[in-house]
Symmetry: C2
Subunit: 372 residues, 2 copies
């Protein structure tokens, strides 16, 4: 397989099943990427990530630039060697942190000046700097440096979008190793269909090896999210992977795949695990509740993960009550496996032509508003 080629094996409606090849191996799609912000998926080892079937991990440029530093990671053999994960890795560009840590950042047309959340020191990211850092990190998939904007400020959104497109051109120009790293463009435009169309057209004209849809799952309604996907995805080239950033939940994954998304990432499964919550096909379950104290059931009776094969709800509740780290590990393993198994099930259903039945059965318990 040629690196960074997408082979589509089957379609079912707009849903697609295929394989995206990278220098560190194939990513069967649809795929869900666990998030390893600081070069570790919290409380889970790479061996455990292998066991749960992870085919792609995400790491964060902003966090790793600040600590331990991208130059140190380059010196240590880049990210795969550093974190002991030899499968595919994707790094974001730092653009999301520009937005989510906005109170300590200032944006101008050339880039972003920001204060470290660790020590208050000043730093500057430009598109060229983001690409240089991502080249030091050495992930298989790297992202254009972009700017999110508040979903309800249309005028700011339009200006930010134009800046994002100019930055995408600068990222593309700075990107000089297309055989080692694939640079994805990020479609922005908030919940405004015309801006999304404009953004998709601008980025597709730049001919990236893949495209992301950014700026969703940041507070907008599910109806808005779905409409933006319906507007945007048909404008992206069918032979390139489509990545829905920062999403999501079980129903979000189904709704994304249904509309043609290939890749997802989200901190949700590991974050809620650290708060004692298990993802199930019926929604989130708070394992802290006293009702689980004497339960000999696993977190999910249909799950094949290590946690569900070996431990009861009663034991996991005890670990949470006692403040034991193993609770986070077991719940993270389970929650990640739930989403990854869902992508495996969707992939099989697309190939069998039964995706709409599977989608209906997954979405049914979540009701009309499809929140988890």
């Amino acid at each position: 397989m040629v690196p960074f080629s997408l082979s589509l094996h089957a379609r079912d409606g707009d849903a697609r099943a295929g394989v995206f090849s990278t220098p560190h191996g194939p990513i069967p799609t649809p795929a869900f990427a666990p998030v390893g912000t600081r070069a570790t998926v919290k409380s889970v080892t790479p061996a455990q990530l292998n066991d749960i079937g992870a085919s792609l991990l995400l790491a964060n440029t902003y966090h790793l630039y600040l600590r331990p530093g991208d130059e140190l990671i380059a010196e240590m053999g880049k990210l795969h060697t550093f974190m002991g994960w030899d499968g595919p890795i994707l790094t974001d560009s730092g653009g999301f942190q520009v937005w989510s840590l906005g109170e300590i950042n200032t944006v101008d047309d050339d880039g972003v000046t920001f204060q470290s959340h660790l020590d208050g020191s000043y730093h500057r990211f430009t598109p060229e700097q983001s690409i240089a850092i991502q080249q030091n990190l050495g992930a298989d998939i790297i992202m254009c440096f972009d700017e999110l904007a508040d979903a309800d400020d249309r005028e700011y959104m339009r200006r930010a979008l134009q800046r994002t497109h100019r930055w995408a051109e600068r990222c593309r120009a700075a990107w000089d190793n297309p055989a080692e790293q694939a640079l994805f463009g990020i479609v922005q435009g908030g919940i405004f269909d015309d801006l999304r169309r404009e953004s998709a057209a601008a980025l597709v004209a730049m001919d990236f090896p893949g495209y992301a849809v950014g700026g969703l799952s940041v507070g907008e309604s599910k109806a808005d999210m779905h409409r933006v996907l319906d507007t945007t995805l048909p404008l992206l080239p069918a032979d390139k992977p489509r990545y829905l950033m920062g999403v999501g939940t079980l129903p979000d994954l189904v709704n994304g795949v249904m509309r043609g998304v290939d890749l997802f990432d989200c901190v949700l499964p590991t974050r809620v695990a650290r708060h004692g919550q298990a993802l199930t096909r019926l929604g989130r379950v708070n394992m802290r509740n006293a009702e689980h104290a004497r339960s000999r059931e696993p977190l999910d009776t249909a799950c094949d993960c290590y946690a569900c094969q070996h431990f009861t709800r009663g034991y996991i509740r005890h670990l949470i009550q006692a403040g034991e780290m193993l609770a986070s590990t077991l719940l993270s393993i389970h929650n990640l496996r739930m989403l990854i198994r869902l992508t495996e099930d969707m992939r099989a259903a697309i190939r069998a032509g039964t995706f709409s039945d599977l989608a209906a059965s997954i979405l049914e318990p979540f009701g009309a508003n499809q929140t988890l």
Copy 2:
């Protein structure tokens, strides 16, 4: 193999290599037991404990009685099922907590009244109660309820010792399932040779399936610890296992085996792991130190553990600096494997008749006072 029989395969000086059989499988000796205070070895899964070669785990009666409660654990299928570990388990009696949480406990001839460290509620342990709790927990090896005493108060030590011997008789009388659980007597007597001799004689007369040496590694000098072992171990029956409680470090294990100890347990490897320290054959290394930031070496070049096979010191230092849980997991796996591999190496050396050479090479870097 008949449960609770000790088969001795080789001797080298006073060092012994053998197998102690239990209903949940054999324990090759000498053996080091990781401590799972609250029915979990902190930050390590049972699968990882299997990988590092753990053959025996310890759990704490006092902690599990308070939370989640021994009756709940019995209802959930006892400790092996509850914590997902089907190998041998040992529970202590709660006696150590009587001593270490002494400011909230009062001891009388019948038992101990204590306040929970969790909620201040009042509870009472008697020898019979300790055995009943340990039967609910269902470990393979259970311990007599005993009383430690301050090492320098000889008069109190003598009175406590007599009480401990009466309690041992009461524990033995309450113990009614010798095919499922082996009850070990605990020799006490602090650093006083005559009291240790008196204690060994009293307990051996009661004919237990195994014997522990308690009250060591609580602040006495290494010379005192070694002298007490030299005094006590020859008085214990050669065909029964000998367990040195709460010990220890690499040199402690060598010094114990050299004198005829078969079993050890200690929180040290997992506790120092959570403080960022790695055990090595040259002593403890603080992985927080900046000198490790760019090190591509493993924690220990000779180690076969998962952490040393896959990760560098530089990466582990990054995890510690970033406050990532994976640091505790990787350091715990390494530190436990260091001690378990040492027991494996000692076992092989005893069988090969080369134990004294191995002991000398392990002890040499630690110098005369042999502290880690």
